[in-house]
């Protein structure tokens, strides 16, 4: 297959490819290599199948041997393609050393406990009053400062903050005037969201009456699909517009005017991730099959910003994760493959 040619230039010790039986969209890397599992890092992969029945597979990656290990038992059915998967961040002292908490979003927010050799569904968090009605969740984010909080974004224009320990809604905000497509935590009580209304808004749970619009897409109502908050420097966030090759870098101190627009992709950008170890680097990937690593200059040149480096995958890259647990590996997903790329 096309892989052979595409990957011919790859050195095997710097990249590893996993082939899934299904097209892959959602993808998560566990936050802490589980020591008991020989430094293996867990990776959750969600399928994108045009059917009600979808799958989530947990595999583990051994950076020593650069190999993946699959566990047939660590796999479960998921209704609809998961829109996002995420392991609980910052698990300093896991109750059971070998277990991870995994959350998935789709029709509802679901919590799963990933054990050594099994997966237990913990809960289905549903805030809908009526059984008829289901507003799909487009994304969610797990608060890494206060891991009992998960915020979800929904096409019903709301963001819902869950207290997952109690399994209750902490608050639900009508965050936007249109569908909300992504959400990202900044601090324990501060999150931001992007929406079909084209705006990036910041919310503070201490003042739920107000939000701050820090960006609006130039053409009104051009949807913003994804949002990434720079955890190394909370002043910055990045967002992408639908059908746009641009990565828009925002400085929350100067609303409305992006500090930079990264425009070297040759097709629409599908995913973005800030470097977990540097406040100035960000990776983006898109339909042009490329993953680009950018360094934000202190001053942008007149001709725009060129990426620092690039990687071409075999086909459109749909997903990108840059894990704090493995900062020198970037994970991308394209077609039915997941690839780890060393940086």
């Amino acid at each position: 297959m096309e892989n052979s040619t595409q990957e011919s230039h790859l050195r095997s010790d710097n990249s590893v490819t996993y082939e899934s039986p299904y097209p892959v969209y959602a993808m998560a890397l566990s936050s802490v290599p589980s020591r008991t599992s020989l430094n293996h890092q867990r990776i959750a992969l969600g399928s994108f199948i045009e059917d009600y029945a979808n799958r989530v597979d947990i595999i583990s990656f051994d950076p020593e041997t650069l190999s993946f290990k699959t566990h047939p038992s660590l796999s479960f059915d998921h209704p609809y393609p998961p829109t996002k998967l995420m392991f609980q961040p910052n698990r300093k002292s896991p109750s059971s050393p070998s277990s991870d908490l995994l959350a998935s979003s789709g029709d509802y927010l679901r919590l799963w406990e990933v054990r050594e050799s099994s997966i237990e569904p913990l809960s289905v968090l549903n805030n809908s009053k009526t059984s008829e009605f289901c507003a799909p969740l487009t994304s969610f984010d797990w608060n890494d400062v206060d891991p009992k909080r998960i915020g979800t974004s929904s096409i019903d224009t709301t963001c819902t903050i869950w207290d997952i320990e109690k399994g209750v809604v902490e608050t639900q905000l009508i965050a936007h005037d249109k569908e909300v497509y992504d959400i990202a935590w900044g601090e324990a009580r501060v999150f931001a969201s992007v929406s079909a209304d084209g705006s990036v808004r910041i919310f503070d749970l201490r003042d739920k009456e107000h939000s701050t619009i820090i960006y609006e897409s130039p053409q009104p109502d051009t949807p913003l699909l994804r949002l990434a908050w720079n955890k190394q420097d909370l002043r910055y966030m990045a967002t992408i517009l639908m059908d746009s090759n641009k990565v828009v870098i925002l400085d929350i101190r100067s609303p409305t005017m992006p500090v930079a627009e990264l425009e070297r992709h040759r097709a629409s950008v599908n995913a973005i991730a800030w470097a977990p170890q540097s406040c100035r680097h960000i990776c983006s990937a898109g339909d042009d099959t490329q993953a680009l690593i950018w360094e934000l200059p202190t001053v942008a040149g007149p001709n725009g910003i060129d990426p620092l480096s690039m990687y071409s995958a075999g086909s459109e890259i749909n997903q990108l994760q840059w894990s704090a647990a493995q900062p020198d590996w970037i994970a991308i997903a394209f077609s039915n493959k997941m690839q780890l790329l060393k940086v």
Partner: protein
């Protein structure tokens, strides 16, 4: 992982060029392992990827519903069930079938749709901008126009509903009749309708208000240049109001809003919810306290002068950052007024005070004639002497008033309660000291401080004329607009405004009612007599005094403007008051060049003396007099307001330039007809545009600005679409004629000459205005409407020409003669195709200038006067029955004018015109106008030097030769416009 950090050595140049990283603790760089260096070239070689499928990210966000439905055909989702974000509080529906909350406010949620059921236009509520006793104001998206508007959603209660209708009526009138070009800083009303039993009024969306602006500035004053800029703009609005006989009644910083995204800060006056007609001052409890005028506070009859008081308070507040009279109670308010205005500090203003009677102007409390009559006098004053001395409000006998303000104790004794007294914000007690000692901005160079201190003296003088206790002495907008503080002229001595308040330049405009039935007629009224009358008035008129101010060259615009018209129609229709017409001409001949010729056979001509400034007035008010309101033009009032409110009393007619201050006996015109604005509004898309062409077309008669439209058309060169239209119309329609005449006017303005032609016709006309007006009406009826419409359809250049409207605004200050001429010239030289453009500009320039002239003397040299005069002829036309003929004349005239800077004697000119006119007949005349003049002049050699630019001849000459354009006007016009665009 350790090695990750330091591993940047090997970085290719791509990385290094991105500059040094300052201060970051761990310097991390991605290594190029699987990632390679970025190389755009390689990319370029690759074929572009054609991606057929939507990215998964889009399929799980934007298209997630489709995706889910593919996954599960049973999946259903309905936006209807989305949680609603309530914008109205309380949000519980208890009234009006659950649509309204307990306050009778419509319960709004985000994306709530307000629909004008008549036009099906949808307004999607996005946010609430504010609320008040009247209801709420929502920011709405209009999909049809892809724009935001502000919609005032009135409470579902009859009283608010009725009051809001008044606002609709007043604003519609102001917008349509008095300010179709949107140059007077009054908020635009776009639409209104009833939805769920709530009256919804759509306005242009504006930005923050001046109070917020001051607040953002931490309650520090704004710079004097900004204060001046805003003052000038507010005055333009107030001039319009005065002209229309409308009192805003709630002028305050909160009701003056910045416009969205205009470079030089532009502001608009909003909230006419408390406004009333000057002759219908029903309510006594009006105006927000800090800005409440003494006469309102005292319960005395009030006029538009109360807005000038508020305006003074606003100007002071803009400068100081804090309200001038922050009265905690009415007693406190009055106390502060007396304290701040009562003591006049000679030492500070000493240098300014030259006039011996100066002090008298600075009376420290309301004049006795007010106190004697006011209802609440006893609440605040005690009588300490005889009032017999009072005459003309000049009570000072031995410098004493018969009244003395109560002290706090006395007040308490009478009212049995302590008055609320607010705290003092200023260390100084009187106005002069407060302004003079207001801290300067930090780090201001010495020379700037000196400069500013001079301007502050001007400001003090300015404020003194505004926050003047005596409403009769308080300056009118017109007077205030000539103050050096506003004009920017050096302030050398206390300003003495023209004693009278002529109607403001606004008046220059001849307002033509856009409604076919209505406005056009105005011109009709000119009777030969009129000129005389005017003339007389003129001499007497205060204007004269003004002259001195004017730069020498300036125009003397003097004029009388003013004619007010009431509409007869009003009664029946909303808002149609006055439409029409005022016209007056002023000429300022500055010089030799300008002559005005006027009319009638010369005999009446005013101007025989070249240098005199003369104005011709005409008037046209036309419609009114004879017409019965019932005249078919009225559209039914949709809303059902009671007409009676609006009907101006007949006495109302203000007018006439001649009689200074008082309303002239004449009420020139009333329009009988304007359709009810309301109904119109709905239909009118045009409102959105800056210039609505509907107006423009019809509005030619309006002042210069209107003329611009007109001009544009004219310029098209060959054919003047309009002209033709007019000509055709001619016989029937006065209005068209008018338009022509206007054209003529502006041109004339330039030259000053030219007027004459029209007049002869006039002579025939019955003398009395009234008659004239009647006549017009008669004509007007049938055919006229169609024509009018035709004219209306003509696009306004402003719509296409990006430069057009803005420049108008911008040019105000700058335009002086030279500019204008320059532009003009430019236009002229350009090839025929371009010429149209050029003309357009020219017009613009003119327009501006003309406006300016009145306002600022600076423009001087040009000496345009607003000539509204031109119109007169047209007015007459109807009678004459030769509308065409007339029109022709007028057109010609204009040219003449232009060229004639002239030394041409009147006579010659006239003749010239006549001759021309004859030639010109027919549709061609438009062409003629443009073309002819030059040629003729050139031949004559008479033109004045200045004009020379025009004359160049060939192009013009050529055109001349083919004067007639057979082409149907309308099409022409369009075509041309397109080209312009």
């Amino acid at each position: 992982m350790d090695e990750v950090g330091p591993s940047n050595q090997g970085e290719p140049e791509g990385a290094s060029e991105l500059g040094s990283e300052e201060g970051s603790k761990v310097r991390w760089r991605p290594r190029q392992l699987v990632f390679g260096a970025y190389s755009p070239r390689n990319e370029a070689d690759r074929k572009l990827r054609v991606v057929v499928r939507r990215p998964l990210v889009a399929r799980l966000t934007k298209d997630i519903i489709e995706t889910y439905q593919i996954c599960n055909p049973q999946f259903k989702y309905s936006e209807e069930l989305n949680p609603k974000r309530f914008l109205t509080s309380p949000s519980v529906g208890v009234l009006n079938d659950g649509y309204d909350n307990v306050n009778s406010d419509l319960i709004l949620t985000v994306n709530f749709v307000l629909t004008n059921l008549e036009t099906q236009r949808r307004y999607i509520v996005k946010d609430v901008l504010g609320h008040g006793t009247f209801g709420q104001v929502a920011k709405c998206w209009v999909p049809e126009t892809s724009s935001f508007v502000a919609v005032k959603i009135i409470k579902n209660q009859p009283a608010y509903y009725q009051q809001a209708l008044v606002e609709v009526s007043i604003l519609t009138t102001l917008n349509k009749k008095y300010d179709p070009e949107d140059k007077h800083h009054i908020v635009r009303i776009y639409d209104y309708f009833v939805y769920q039993r709530h009256l919804c009024i759509c306005f242009e969306l504006l930005d923050t208000n001046l109070y917020e602006l001051i607040k953002i500035n931490h309650f520090r004053g704004l710079s004097l240049s900004i204060v001046q800029l805003f003052s000038k703009q507010i005055l333009r609005g107030l001039a319009l109001l005065k002209d229309a006989g409308i009192i805003h009644c709630d002028l305050k910083p909160e009701n003056i809003l910045l416009c969205t995204s205009v470079k030089p800060a532009e502001i608009k006056i909003i909230d006419f919810g408390s406004a009333c007609m000057e002759d219908r001052t029903v309510y006594s409890y009006i105006q927000s306290r800090y800005y409440r005028s003494p006469e309102v506070l005292l319960g005395y009859q009030y006029t538009t002068a109360i807005d000038m008081w508020s305006f003074g308070c606003i100007v002071a507040e803009l400068f100081l950052g804090l309200p001038l009279f922050p009265g905690a109670s009415e007693f406190d308010l009055l106390r502060r007024m007396i304290e701040i205005l009562g003591s006049f500090d000679r030492t500070i203003a000493g240098q300014v005070v030259v006039v011996s009677k100066w002090e008298k102007l600075y009376r420290g409390q309301p004049p006795d004639y007010v106190l004697k009559e006011a209802k609440n006098t006893s609440k605040f004053f005690k009588c300490i002497g005889s009032i017999h001395n009072t005459e003309n409000g000049e009570v000072f006998i031995a410098g004493r008033s018969a009244y003395q303000a109560l002290t706090e104790e006395e007040y308490e004794g009478r009212e049995l309660k302590k008055p609320l007294i607010g705290k003092e914000y200023f260390n100084h007690k009187n106005l002069e000291a407060i302004v003079t000692n207001y801290p300067y901005r930090k780090n201001l160079p010495k020379e700037d401080i000196i400069k500013e201190s001079q301007i502050r003296l001007a400001l003090i003088d300015f404020l003194r004329g505004l926050v003047e206790f005596d409403p009769a002495k308080r300056w009118s907008p017109f007077q205030a607009s000539k103050h050096p503080f506003v004009t920017g002229e050096p302030f050398t001595c206390p300003y003495r405004p023209p004693p009278e308040t002529p109607r403001l330049p606004v008046a220059q405009n001849i307002k033509v009612d856009h409604h076919p039935g209505g406005g056009h007629w105005f011109a009709a009224g000119l009777s030969p007599n009129i000129p005389n009358r005017n003339r007389v008035a003129f001499h007497n008129s205060p204007h004269f005094p003004m002259v001195p101010y004017g730069h020498a060259n300036s125009y003397g615009s003097i004029g009388s403007y003013g004619s007010y018209n009431d509409n007869a129609g009003l009664g029946s229709s909303y808002g149609s008051y006055g439409d029409s017409s005022n016209m007056f001409a002023y000429y300022s001949p500055v010089g030799p060049s300008a002559m005005n010729v006027h009319s009638q056979g010369g005999a009446s001509m005013l101007g025989s003396s070249p240098d005199a400034r003369r104005r011709v007035m005409q008037y046209s008010h036309g419609n009114g007099l004879g017409v019965s309101p019932s005249a078919g033009n009225f559209a039914p009032l949709p809303l059902g307001t009671s007409p009676s409110q609006f009907t101006p009393p007949s006495s109302y007619g203000q007018v006439s330039g001649g009689s200074p201050g008082h309303y002239g006996p004449t009420s020139p015109a009333r329009n009988s007809c304007q359709g009810s604005p309301l109904s119109k509004m709905a239909a009118a898309g045009q409102f959105n545009r800056r210039k609505s062409w509907g107006y423009s077309g019809s509005s030619q008669s309006q002042e210069s600005s209107s003329s611009s439209n007109w001009q544009g058309q004219v310029s098209d060169g060959t054919t003047s679409s309009q002209a033709e239209a007019n000509s055709q119309v001619g016989s029937g329609l006065p209005c068209h004629i008018q338009s022509n005449s206007n054209t003529a006017n502006w041109k004339q303005q330039r030259g000053g000459i030219g007027m004459a032609t029209g007049y002869p016709v006039i002579q025939n006309i019955p003398n009395s205005l009234g008659l004239g007006s009647n006549v017009q009406l008669q004509h007007g009826t049938g055919a006229a409407q169609d024509k009018t419409e035709a004219s209306m359809s003509l696009p306004d250049p402003g719509d296409w020409d990006p430069n057009y409207s803005d420049e108008l605004l911008l040019q105000e200050d700058g335009s002086d003669e030279s500019c204008i001429t320059a532009e003009f010239n430019r236009g002229m030289h350009i090839g025929s195709a371009d010429s149209s453009v050029g003309v357009g500009r020219f017009n613009r320039a003119l327009t501006t200038s003309s406006n300016l002239s009145i306002q600022s003397r600076q423009n001087g040299p040009v000496g345009f006067s607003h000539i509204e005069v031109g119109s007169p002829p047209s007015a007459n036309d109807p009678h004459a029955g030769y509308p065409r003929f007339i029109s022709k004349h007028s057109h010609f005239m204009p040219h003449m004018t232009q060229n004639s800077p002239s030394r041409l004697g009147q006579q010659p000119v006239q003749r010239f015109n006549h001759g021309r006119s004859t030639v010109a007949r027919g549709s061609e005349w438009n062409h003629m106008k443009v073309q002819l003049p030059p040629s003729s002049f050139s031949s004559g050699g008479q033109r004045s030097p200045g004009n020379s630019s025009f004359s160049n001849g060939m192009p013009w000459g050529r055109r001349t030769s083919h004067p007639v354009a057979n082409i149907p006007p309308a099409s022409r016009g369009r075509k041309d416009y397109g080209r312009i665009a």
